[in-house]
Amino acid sequence: MFKILKHQKLGPKMQLMKLDAPFVAKKAEAGQFVIIRVYEKGERIPLTIADFNREKGTITIVFQEIGKSTHFLATKQAGGYISDVLGPLGNPTDIEYFGNVICIGGGIGVAPVYPLSRKLKQKGNKVTSIIGYRSKNYVFWEDEMKNASNKVLLATNDGTYGEKGFVTDILKKLMDEEKQIDRIFAIGPAIMMKAVANMTKERGIKTIISLNSIMVCGMGMCGACRVTVEGKTKFTCADGPDFDAHLVDFDILMKRLNTYKDEEKISFEKWKAEVDYYEES
C-alpha cells in the first residue's frame, strides 16, 4: 500500500497527488512514469512522474479525470492509500546541452513538461516554454513553469487568459522569429503532438515527444503499448516513452487509443450509477 500525502485540485477535473514511494523517488528522472493501481479490482494506470523528492521519498502525479479509473482515484483523500505504485518506468528523457530549446505542454501535458524544462535549464539550455490550456480556469503550474524556463508563453483556446489560440499558433510565430531552434520537446494530446510534428518536420527541427499509448504491464512484457516508429514496431514502455516525433505513425497510435472506447463507457456509467457523490463539472 502506498500513502497519499497530499491531494490538491488544480482545475476542473485536474488533480495533483503526492505519494509516498521512496523506491520510485530514489531513481526517478524526468521523462519517466509510474503505473498505479488504486485498489484490488483496479486497472493499471500509467501516469508521468511530474515531480519527485529523493530525500523525502515522494513523487507527484498530476492527472486528468477521464474515465472510471481516474475519477475514482480523484475520490481518494490525503492520508488514504492506493494499492500499487510501480516505477520509475520508461527511459529517462535524453537531456544534455542542446542550445535553444522549446518545451511545449498541452493541458495536462504541462505537468510532465515541468521536470523536463527544469532539467534542460539546469544543463544550461535556453528554455522557452509554450503552455496551452483550454480556458483560464484550467491553467495550472504557471509559476512553476516560469521557474523552470527562461521564458514562458501561455495560450488558452478561448482567449480567456494569455494569448488566444493553440500552442501550435505560438510555435508557428516562434519558428518564424527565432533564427535557430536546436530542439523541441512536446507533450500533450496525441493530436497536438502530431500537429507539432508536422510543423517542425518541414523546418527539420529535431522534435521529441512522449507517447501515451494504452498500457498494461509497463515493463515490456505484454505488447499493449506498441507503436509504429519508422515502420518498425516499438514498445512505448520499454523503448520509449520518448520518440522522435518525425518517425512516429500518429494515425495508428490514435486509432489504437480508441480500442476500448465502448468498454470504458460501460465501466464509467456503472461507476457513476454506484457513487452518489459523482458530480459533473
Binding site: F23, K41, L86
Partner: protein, 467 residues
C-alpha cells in the same frame, strides 16, 4: 502382464459443452478409488525409465507405490524431495513427452497416468493444508545471509523455497502486483486454478520468505545495487516475457493482441469479470489465434470462454508438429476451435476506424527438415485467401526481456538475449545466478523449477565458500 488393465483410469472432466461457458477447471482429478486403481497398474519395474524421463527426477515408482498402499503423506513427501510445486506440475507438465513417454506399460497399452497421480497426491496435501493440518518443512539454522530473487515465477519460487529452508534470508522482487509469474498471468484458470498457486505461495510466506511486489529490477533497483545493498547473492528468474511478432502489415491495428497482453488482461487483471473488475477486454465475434503451442491453445480457449462465436487457430505446420501438449490440443478440438493448419497469416486488414477486420493468409506445405528436426513450412504459390476476423491474438513465442541485461554491466547473454549461465546456474558475474525461461528461452514449468533448485544449491555452495 495379463492381469493388468492396459487402459489408464480416465479422469472425470467437465463436458465440452458445459466448460465452454465457464472458467472452471476442466479435468476434475482422481478420486481415491481411481487413484488406487491407477497406481496398482504400475509394474514397479526395476529399470524405472520414468525417473530419467522426468526433468527433475522425481522418484516416481516409490511415490506411486505409496499411493497404492494408501499412504498419501509418504507419496507427497517423496514428490516434494524433487518437486516444490506438484499441484502445478501435476496439471501442466507435458507428461506424455517426459515420464509417461518412456513408461514400460506404454509398450503394450497406456502408460501409467503419472501426472494424474502426482496431482492426486498434491491435491490431498493442499486440502490438508487448507484444513490447517500443515506440516512445515524443516528449516536449517538461520545464517544472516541475504539472497535476492528476481521474479516470482516457478524458477524464483523454487529457488526461494530451497534457500529459506537452508536458513537464508530470502527476498523475492516481483514487477507485477501479484506473485506467481506465468502461473498467475499466463496459464488460464480453467487449466490451473489460481487458488492453487496462491496456496503454494502462502506456504513460502509461512516459511518466512519476504516477497516485495511492484519492484521492477532494472528500473526500480538494479542487480548491482542489490549486491551493494547487502544481498550476498542474486538469482535471476525473470522469465521470457517479451512477445514476438511476425512483422507483417497491419500488426498494430486495434484488435490485434499479443497472447501475453490478452492473457494478462484476462488472468491477472480479471478482465473476464469486467465490469466488476476495471480492466476491459474486447469480446470479439470472430477470433484468429496465430500459433500452435500451449500459449495459442490457452488463448483460443480463453477467447471462446469470453464469448467469441468462432475461434480459428492458424498454424503454419501440421497438427503433428504442434508444440502444444496433446491433451490441450484435444481439449481445444472438443470445444470446437477451428484448426486452420498449414496456413500462415501474411497481412491484417483494418476498417476505416483502424480496427482489424480480416486476415490474409497463405497455404503452406511441408518441405525439408529444418534445424529443429521438423519439416519446414513452405508457402504454396497462388494460394492466398482472406478470413473475416475482428480479433487477432498472436501467440508465436516470447524472448527474454532485455531490461536486466541492459542494466547489469558485463552480464553475458546469448542468442535471442537469453542470460548465459553454466550448468550450475552461475552467470559470468560472481554472486549472480540465473535460471528458468530467461536462460533457456520459453520452456516449461518443471524445467524452470528445476533450474531454480539447482541454482539454490549452487548459491548455498557459493555462500559457504565452496565455489
Amino acid at each position: 502382464m495379463k492381469n493388468l488393465n492396459k487402459k489408464q483410469v480416465p479422469m472425470q472432466e467437465q463436458s465440452a459443452k458445459e466448460r465452454k461457458n465457464n472458467f472452471n477447471e476442466v479435468p476434475l482429478g482422481y478420486s481415491k478409488k481411481e487413484a488406487l486403481l491407477e497406481s496398482s497398474r504400475c509394474l514397479q519395474c526395476p529399470t524405472h525409465p520414468c525417473i530419467e524421463g522426468c526433468p527433475v527426477h522425481i522418484n516416481i515408482p516409490n511415490f506411486i507405490k505409496a499411493i497404492k498402499e494408501d499412504n498419501v503423506q509418504l507419496a507427497i513427501d517423496i514428490i516434494h524431495e524433487s518437486d516444490s510445486l506438484p499441484a502445478v506440475t501435476g496439471r501442466v507438465c507435458p507428461q506424455e513427452d517426459q515420464c509417461q513417454a518412456v513408461c514400460i506399460m506404454g509398450k503394450a497399452g497406456d502408460p501409467i497416468a503419472i501426472g494424474r497421480l502426482e496431482r492426486y497426491a498434491a491435491d490431498w496435501d493442499l486440502q490438508n493444508r487448507k484444513e490447517g493440518k500443515i506440516k512445515l518443512p524443516a528449516k536449517g539454522k538461520l545464517n544472516n545471509k541475504n539472497v535476492a530473487i528476481v521474479g516470482s515465477g516457478p524458477s524464483g519460487l523454487a529457488c526461494a523455497g530451497d534457500l529459506v529452508k537452508k536458513g537464508y534470508n530470502v527476498t523475492v522482487f516481483e514487477g507485477f502486483h501479484k506473485t506467481g509469474g506465468v502461473l498467475i498471468y499466463g496459464i488460464p484458470e480453467f487449466r490451473l486454478p489460481k487458488s492453487i498457486v496462491q496456496e503454494e505461495i502462502n506456504m513460502l510466506n509461512k516459511l518466512g520468505i519476504k516477497i516485495t511486489t511492484d519492484v521492477l529490477i532494472g528500473r526500480t533497483m538494479t542487480i548491482p545495487s542489490l549486491l551493494k545493498d547487502g544481498f550476498s547473492a542474486v538469482f535471476i528468474g525473470a522469465g521470457a516475457g517479451l512477445p514476438s511478432f511476425m512483422h507483417i502489415p497491419g500488426e498494430n491495428l486495434a484488435g490485434v493482441y499479443s497472447a501475453n497482453e490478452f492473457l494478462t488482461r484476462v488472468n491477472l487483471m480479471k478482465a473476464y469479470k469486467f465490469p466488476q473488475y476495471d480492466t476491459p477486454i474486447k469480446i470479439a465475434k470472430r477470433v484468429a489465434v496465430i500459433g500452435g503451442g500451449n500459449v495459442a491453445m490457452d488463448s483460443a480457449r480463453t477467447a471462446l470462454r469470453l464469448g467469441a462465436e468462432h475461434v480459428s487457430l492458424i498454424y503454419r505446420r501440421s497438427r503433428k508438429e504442434m508444440p502444444a501438449r496433446n491433451e490441450e490440443i484435444l481439449h481445444a478440438e472438443e470445444e470446437g476451435i477451428d484448426f486452420r493448419l498449414l496456413t500462415n497469416p501474411i497481412r491484417y486488414i483494418g476498417n476505416e476506424k483502424g480496427f482489424v477486420k480480416s486476415v490474409e493468409c497463405i497455404k503452406m506445405q511441408l518441405g525439408e527438415k529444418d534445424k529443429s528436426g521438423r519439416r519446414r513450412p513452405v508457402p504454396i504459390d497462388d494460394s492466398k485467401f482472406t478470413l473475416d476476423m475482428d480479433q487477432i491474438i498472436v501467440a508465436i513465442g516470447t524472448t527474454p526481456n532485455p531490461i536486466i541485461p541492459r542494466t547489469t554491466a558485463g552480464l553475458k547473454t546469448g542468442r535471442h538475449g537469453v542470460i548465459w549461465a553454466d550448468e550450475d546456474g552461475a552467470t559470468n558475474i560472481k554472486g549472480i545466478f540465473a535460471g528458468g525461461d530467461i536462460v533457456t528461452g520459453a520452456a516449461t514449468v518443471i524445467t524452470a523449477m528445476g533450474a531454480g533448485r539447482l541454482a539454490a544449491a549452487s548459491i548455498n555452495k557459493y555462500l559457504k565458500g565452496n565455489i
